[in-house]
């Protein structure tokens, strides 16, 4: 073919190229994962996480490659939340969620478990395996793992049986909320009970947060049956709770009682600490000036220490040195707070100063000596995560 003919051919055919279907360039998932993990803007990380989650299997190799390089615990909660809430059920995604859910040291294992629980009804071929996985976690020390395991079993139609009733108020409310969101109507009494919860722990108003969570879930479920039109507000809590109670009774047909107000005990606490640990479970300990320790979110378990022992512990506590860096908190943390000296710190795993670690060991020994070796053992496990190596 002569050059002139080639030119003529090109002139004739090149406009036709525009008619060919246009293809978007393939997404570089490694870049998206990097953005989801390290973008400076929170909103950017959220958006990238959603994009990755929606991609399903296509993004999994990049996720695996990224976690191999930086470590699993460098994956942000935003990314895990997006994947958990997304719909893709590709085997690669399910396998990854299973790995994450069964990694005890992964901060967001509970979130991965939720991702599996939500997908479980759509994975009949994996139902038995998932059922076994959920059953393994219904008594997990981490409350969110327990909730998501129970959610998975419920959604598979085999609710957890022969398990002790859940006592953590956060877990009771969360499970009811998640079931409502999944289109199941659980016993609603826990949500109504939460509506009048004003409790706090170490000045953290966990009760009002539960109330808000329960209120929002009931509002969404009641829909057109909600006693207030959109935009209106109840005049006071009492009438609001009563109106919601009656609306929930009518719609569910359940026998529901008016909630008993939940308030902090009339005990002047002088300080305490909390351990929030997705690995070992949460612990809450508050104490009085006289050395009575209150264990648990509701402070229901009480241990009175010997006065001389408490005096010694108090003096040692006042002398603790918290300087020198307490680590970068990502998820699990130990928060200490007491009035004397206005101490209020958050400590990351592996960053507890040696002196403070020794003080907690002394505290555990005192609790054991007061007849509660069981509480002391749990405390030692909890603190162990925060000791410096």
């Amino acid at each position: 073919m002569k050059p002139l003919h080639v030119l003529c051919l090109l002139a004739v055919t090149s406009p036709l190229l525009a008619l060919l279907p246009q293809q978007d360039p393939p997404t570089n998932w490694a870049v998206e994962v990097e953005r989801a993990c390290t973008a400076q803007r929170y909103g950017m990380r959220l958006a990238a996480g959603k994009k990755i989650a929606a991609a399903g299997a296509a993004a999994v190799p990049a996720l695996r490659a990224h976690e191999r390089v930086v470590g699993r615990n460098q994956l942000p909660a935003t990314l895990l939340e997006a994947i958990a809430d997304a719909t893709p059920c590709d085997p690669e995604v399910v396998a990854l969620l299973r790995e994450w859910a069964t990694d005890r040291d992964f901060y967001w294992r509970a979130t991965a478990l939720r991702g599996l629980a939500r997908r479980a009804p759509k994975l009949p071929e994996s139902a038995d395996a998932l059922r076994a996985l959920f059953a393994d976690h219904v008594a997990d020390p981490a409350w969110l793992c327990r909730v998501h395991a129970r959610l998975g079993l419920e959604l598979l139609g085999t609710p957890a049986a022969d398990q002790p009733a859940e006592t953590d108020a956060r877990a009771v409310v969360k499970l009811a909320v998640l079931l409502l969101q999944a289109g199941r109507v659980p016993p609603l009494q826990p949500l109504l009970d939460a509506l009048d919860d004003e409790r706090t722990v170490l000045a953290d108003p966990f009760g009002p947060r539960l109330a808000r969570e329960a209120f929002d879930a009931l509002k969404a479920w009641l829909g057109a049956d909600h006693p207030l039109a959109s935009g209106e507000a109840f005049t006071d809590r009492g009438s609001g709770v009563q109106a919601l109670l009656e609306a929930a009774r009518r719609k569910s047909g359940q026998t529901l009682q008016r909630p008993v107000p939940r308030r902090d005990p009339a005990v002047p606490f002088a300080g305490g600490f909390e351990i929030l640990s997705c690995r070992n479970g949460d612990q809450f300990v508050c104490w009085t000036e006289a050395g009575e320790l209150h264990f648990g979110l509701d402070g229901a378990v009480r241990v009175a220490l010997d006065a001389a022992v408490w005096q010694r512990l108090s003096a040692a506590r006042a002398a603790l040195d918290w300087s020198g860096g307490l680590g970068a908190v990502v998820c699990d943390n130990l928060r200490v707070r007491w009035a004397a000296g206005e101490v209020h710190h958050k400590v990351a795993p592996g960053a507890l100063p040696a002196g403070a670690a020794a003080w907690f060991e002394d505290l555990a020994a005192a609790v054991a000596a007061a007849g509660r070796a069981d509480l002391a053992a749990v405390l030692r496990v909890g603190i162990g995560q925060f000791r410096r190596p």
Binding site: Y42, C331, R335
Partner: protein, 134 residues
């Protein structure tokens, strides 16, 4: 050190009217959808001096003092990632930094409502020029 920083911030505050006290019950009390009009009770807060309580969180991991931080409704992200209408993006006066405090803080300053986009992505909905952090 932390106390001194808080005091300096308080002293540096511009004269403020009585701040409007708001909360996450209001700011997060609706389902946010990108591009849709925000409720009037939210837009009414735009450019007002507002006070809000919550937990401080870094926008990016680290342990150094910060000039910008987030206020969220819950201390531990274990209970769900905050949505954009569950986050207030706070900026301290130029040149000022502070440590991330544990526990609940109250932030007061001029509040801005509206979607802020970067690279086509909504990155912020609520911002506050944090004059006082206590």
């Amino acid at each position: 050190m932390i106390l001194r920083s808080a005091l300096l911030l308080a002293l540096a505050a511009l004269p403020l009217g009585d701040p409007i006290k708001t909360s996450f019950s209001v700011l997060a009390g609706y389902t946010y959808e990108e591009g849709k009009a925000l409720p009037k009770e939210i837009t009414n807060l735009d450019e007002q001096v507002v006070s809000i309580s919550g937990f401080m969180m870094r926008e990016t991991p680290g342990s150094n003092p910060v000039n910008q931080f987030l206020i969220i409704n819950e201390a531990c992200g274990c209970n769900g990632t905050p949505k954009l209408n569950e986050v207030v993006f706070c900026t301290l006066p130029e040149g000022q930094t502070m440590e991330i405090k544990p526990g609940i803080v109250s932030v007061t300053g001029k509040f801005y409502v509206g979607e802020v986009k970067e690279e086509g992505v909504v990155v912020m909905l609520y911002q506050i020029d944090a004059d006082v952090v206590q």
